[in-house]
């Protein structure tokens, strides 16, 4: 086993397998849950995407940044502007596709990350935090300053071009022609119909995967019957949670809102003739796929040579420099990688909200990313995933408790932030490794105890 892992490419393949299993599991879960949960899943995956970059920047490279919300704004605005203004890709002349906007958003993030990294990466802790704080405040201000380009305070509305076939859970196909479950619906619903929107993204893991862990993708991994009636019902726009501004309203159970059986006319309303399109589910599949691809990049970086370089510079710059590492280069690269991730997350966020605006990418978002990654665990990528779930779940939990107790609105609205603030302080003081770090420590201690008991 040990030898197998040492084969060239073995680690790459094992990462591919891990990410693929997570992706497949999440996509399957996405088909089984109700649309509101899918929406939360989309948000959590989007946060996790951005926080993979925070783990690299804050945890591995030791640079506290508050600017990643603004870097998400770069990605979001690039996505919005290119998708609103382009019919074809400039110079190349190819038919425009949202995927191009995603790619350009990523490039935008890289460019801005280089600039900030160049200014900031040679600075020590508080200077950098202050600089990035200025960026978090300044970049949304730029967006308000040029309303004719960026839409000013109101932002830009996006008509996200949904995939032509829609994100159709298998149910629809089943009801129409009763095709054998094994053939059409299983593989094709989640894999082939979504990719109209995000084909290259999807295929990256899939193609290479067939060589490695392709067997994981057996037919029965994919949804069939369970995604039927309940899944098809929430297609209309009125169910679509527009922004996270009113989470307490979102928390209301929405299953009872619509009839529980497939209604062909309702399906027709949902932009797409005849197919059971569930917007939230499509958003979640987009966000999860983006998160998995970014997570795969991050995993290879963190566990590879570059990860060791980042950690070496964080722990002792002089020693790292003596070993032939450029500390400045290492810090700048962490900035570039994290802003690339943030920009992709921003592009996903823009598609989830169907909107970009300075309010959505303000200082609050930057602080949320820092809070999430600190609470989840800033030292490893798992912490980013925990952080993403926390950022979505914790407010809901607090709102639910507050709702049960009948607290007034001003208390309820501020309760999540109070909890965040106190938790951040507590985590820094008591468990600097965050939730994940504490879990790891705990299991290590238990193992050590059981070993010494023997």
């Amino acid at each position: 086993m040990v030898n197998l892992l040492r084969l060239p490419g073995a680690r790459f393949l094992s990462h591919l397998a891990i990410v693929f299993v997570i992706w497949a599991a999440l996509m399957r879960i996405n088909d089984g849950i109700d649309p509101l949960m899918s929406y939360y899943l989309a948000l959590a995956a989007m946060y996790a995407t951005a926080m993979f970059g925070m783990v690299i920047l804050v945890g591995l490279s030791g640079q506290v940044s508050l600017g990643n919300g603004a870097l998400m704004a770069i990605g979001g605005y690039v996505f919005a502007l290119t998708s609103l203004n382009w019919q074809t890709v400039p110079i190349l002349g190819w038919q425009w596709n949202p995927i191009w906007s995603m790619i350009f958003a990523g490039f935008g993030g890289i460019a801005v990350g280089l600039l900030i990294g160049w200014i900031g990466a040679r600075l020590r802790g508080p200077y950098l935090a202050g600089l990035t704080l200025g960026i978090a405040v300044g970049i949304p201000a730029i967006a308000t300053r040029f309303p004719e380009i960026f839409g000013g305070e109101t932002g830009l509305m996006l008509t996200v071009p949904y995939p032509a076939g829609g994100y159709a859970p298998a149910a629809e196909t089943v009801t129409i022609d009763e095709a054998p479950l094994a053939e059409v619906p299983l593989e094709q619903a989640p894999l082939d119909e979504v990719p109209l929107e995000q084909a290259p993204l999807e295929q990256a893991p899939l193609d290479t995967e067939t060589a490695g862990a392709g067997d994981m993708l057996t037919a029965d991994n994919f949804p069939s019957a369970e995604s039927s009636p309940a899944a098809g019902d929430m297609l209309t726009a009125d169910n679509f949670p527009s922004a996270e501004s009113s989470p307490s309203a979102l928390a209301l159970p929405s299953e009872s809102a619509l009839p529980n059986d497939i209604d062909p006319t309702a399906a027709g309303d949902a932009l797409l003739a005849g197919s059971a399109f569930v917007l939230e589910r499509w958003q979640a599949s987009l966000a999860v796929t983006a998160a998995c691809i970014i997570g795969f990049f991050a995993l290879n970086l963190v566990r590879g040579r570059q990860g060791r370089i980042w950690r070496a510079v964080r722990d002792d710059e002089v020693a790292a420099a003596v070993s032939g590492i450029s500390p400045a280069g290492s810090k700048i690269s962490a900035f570039v990688v994290s802003s690339f991730f943030a920009a992709i997350a921003g592009a996903v966020f823009a598609q989830i909200l169907s909107y970009v605006g300075p309010g959505a990418f303000g200082l609050g978002l930057s602080l949320s990313l820092l809070v999430g990654v600190v609470l989840g665990g800033r030292a490893s990528l798992g912490g980013a995933i925990i952080g993403g779930v926390l950022l979505v779940a914790l407010p809901q939990l607090v709102f639910n408790i507050a709702g049960d107790r009948g607290w007034p609105a001003n208390v309820t609205d501020n309760a999540p932030n109070l909890v965040y603030g106190l938790l951040v302080v507590l985590v820094v003081l008591i468990a600097p490794g965050g939730i994940l770090g504490s879990l790891k420590d705990g299991t290590r201690r238990l193992l050590a105890k059981s070993r010494s008991a023997k």
Binding site: L123, G125, G130, G134, L367, N414, V424, L429
Partner: protein, 292 residues
């Protein structure tokens, strides 16, 4: 030219306030090597307390003194409960913890004082003074702000240069180990520094509130300006914080006057970036900000 001078005069008051907030940041940085990003949170909180005192007693002076005291107490609380227990090796941790305090304070203020932005009563006439046949863009209130700032700076200078407490503070900031060996009770001195900074920040908050409004987030932008001023001033120089603070206020006034106040944060960011590229250790300091 007259408009230029008008804009400069109009920026003096806000410059003094930025200078005070920058001063609070510098006071803490000098002694504990922590940039207290929660400073504006503390100032916002004490300003709300001052507002409550003001509506209760009707006296602005009582409110100001109340804010001073509350600022000192809050500073000590934050240092005792949060910053002191952070491991000294965990520099990121200290920064993150101050942001945790900021988030918690803002949320707590939103709970205690609901209703969003609130107006702080004008203690003095805030309309332009009429003099020599025209109205100048500077008010009685601006003079009060500048006067209080000058008094505080004078008091701090005397404290640091003429008193033994000030000497111990400088010693503890310069080299805690040696100071401890020479009989300075370093931790007590540090706590005093936090109380002092808390009070200075609280004064800045009470002074800025009448000319803006007060809400849990309304001082965020002040944090950015104050940080820019403190860093350009060298982060451990009191004179640097004061002079660059006033300078930042003037620049912001010019930018707002000639273009639009919305450009101010962008210009502040550009100033900071320029400073960090050209002279990252700041104008009034000799210590190193860059490590490589």
């Amino acid at each position: 030219m007259t408009t230029f001078i008008d804009y400069l005069l109009g920026g003096l008051g806000s410059g003094a306030i930025i200078a005070l907030m920058a001063l609070a940041l510098v006071l803490i940085w000098r002694s504990t090597r922590v940039v207290n990003f929660a400073q504006v949170g503390q100032a916002m909180f004490t300003t709300f307390i001052a507002l409550s005192i003001q509506t209760w007693t009707g006296s602005w002076y009582v409110a100001l003194i109340g804010a001073l005291a509350a600022g000192a107490v809050l500073g000590v609380i934050v240092q005792y409960l949060v910053l002191r227990p952070v491991k000294r090796s965990d520099t990121s941790g200290a920064i993150i913890a101050t942001f945790g305090v900021l988030i918690a304070l803002q949320a707590a203020a939103g709970m205690i004082w609901p209703g969003g932005s609130q107006a702080f009563p004008q203690p003095f006439n805030n309309s332009g003074i009429e003099f020599a046949g025209r109205v100048w863009p500077i008010s009685i209130y601006d003079f009060v702000v500048i006067g209080i700032t000058a008094l505080l700076v004078l008091g701090l200078t005397l404290l640091f240069t003429k008193t033994s407490l000030g000497l111990s503070m400088r010693a503890a900031a310069f080299n805690p180990e040696v100071a401890r060996l020479s009989g300075v009770r370093v931790s007590r001195v540090l706590t005093f520094g936090w109380a002092l900074a808390g009070s200075v920040g609280a004064v800045a908050g009470v002074l800025v509130a009448p000319v803006s409004t007060i809400s849990p987030n309304s001082f965020d932008i002040l944090l950015v300006f104050a940080f820019v001023a403190a860093v350009i001033g060298g982060l451990d120089s009191l004179i640097g914080a004061i002079s660059i603070g006033v300078f930042t206020g003037l620049v912001i006034s010019l930018v707002s006057g000639y273009s639009d106040s919305g450009n101010a944060p962008v210009v502040a960011l550009l100033l900071l970036a320029l400073n960090l590229i050209l002279k990252p250790e700041g104008i009034f300091s000799h210590h190193k900000a860059r490590s490589v």
